[in-house]
């Protein structure tokens, strides 16, 4: 995989999740950050830190990105969410504009 096509999402505990850029762009917030011209450091390094999102939530979010891409291509499966995660997941989704 070419270096330009992946991004690294870093959770509050420091755990790193490496995903495709295309998947990350599902989130408007991340998309804005990566596509703005004029010297955003992470546009070059391809990493984004989220000091407020825990690793478990971030993992679920990454899974969501991929599921969302699949869904838009026609594969209509279900996305299962554990009830305990729901509240935090929704807040993270709000934050990330997903």
């Amino acid at each position: 995989m070419k270096k330009e096509d992946i991004v690294k999402l870093i959770s509050a505990e420091g755990m790193e999740f490496v995903i495709d850029k295309e998947a990350a762009m599902v989130s408007q917030t991340i998309r804005n950050m990566l596509t703005s011209p004029g010297g955003f450091a992470e546009a070059e390094h391809g990493e984004v830190t989220f000091p407020e999102i825990s690793a478990v939530i971030l993992e679920k979010i990454c899974q969501y990105f991929y599921w969302s891409l699949q869904y838009s291509r026609g594969k209509e499966t279900e996305f299962h969410i554990e009830p305990e995660l729901t509240l935090e997941l929704m807040m993270a989704a709000n934050y990330l504009h997903t």
Partner: protein
Amino acid sequence: MENKTIGLDKGWDYMQKGITKLKRILEGLPEPPFTSEEYMMLYTTIYNMCTQKPPHDYSQQLYDKYREAFEEYITSTVLPSLREKHDEFMLRELVKRWANHKVMVRWLSRFFHYLDRYFIARRSLPTLNEVGLTCFRDLVYQEVHAKVKDAVITLIDKEREGEQIDRALLKNVLDIFVEIGMGQMDRYEDDFEADMLQDTGAYYSRKASSWIEEDSCPDYMLKSEECLKKERDRVSHYLHSSSETKLSEKVQNELLVAYANRLLEKEHSGCRPLLRNDKVEDLSRMYRLYCKIPRGLDPVANIFKQHITAEGTALVQQAEDATSNQVNFIIILLV
């Protein structure tokens, strides 16, 4: 997620640091670009300040502070730098400041994006983008547009006299007029186009009155055609395309319509001599120039009719005098 609330002052303090950093980058001062952490922290601060429970819900204040940030930057930095320059330098400075401003709007909108999503939608307020543009329009554009328009028209007249001017600069300046209308052409039309047309009319009227004295009809027409072509060229290079018809009409008016009679009736080179001497190229130019003007061909057609009548009568006379031979008569008529 964060549980402690952030006070407005503390939160805004943090934002202010980010905004100052942005301003330094825009001014070209040495400043490391934003890192992902800084961006996220700025965005997160806004997010937190907006999602806290009232009375700590600072959305309204943040919206006002956003506008204030622009106003402050404009009044303290942008306006003074524009006021101290004139003419072409002022135009360059304006273009630079406008580009800067657009970048600033884009970045601050990203930071404050959370406001856009909920607060603004709920209250149907103008978006952050619009607020930014409005600030520039009300503070900067209002003050300088008259001077800008004069500077631009001076440059256009210079170009008409044959001097080289910076066309790219003019295009950028005129784009500002169009963009600041925010979807409508009224700024371009009222603040620039109207005066430009008037000045064009005056310019060509002066030129025409001197040319009509000195030049023959074909020469005058050549010059008119040249001018029309140059003006069309000008539109394609930097004026807005909507100006083309109005500009052509104005030029045609001043050069061709106002002096139509004098031109065509010229003693040794007007329409009649051209017809008599079969100057096809000049005649076709005359047709090309006048056919675009409504009813412009009427005087030409009149003269043409008179010419044919005169020639025809002369021929009839000739034929009658020469011989009563029917065949010859017909042949002479037909040739």
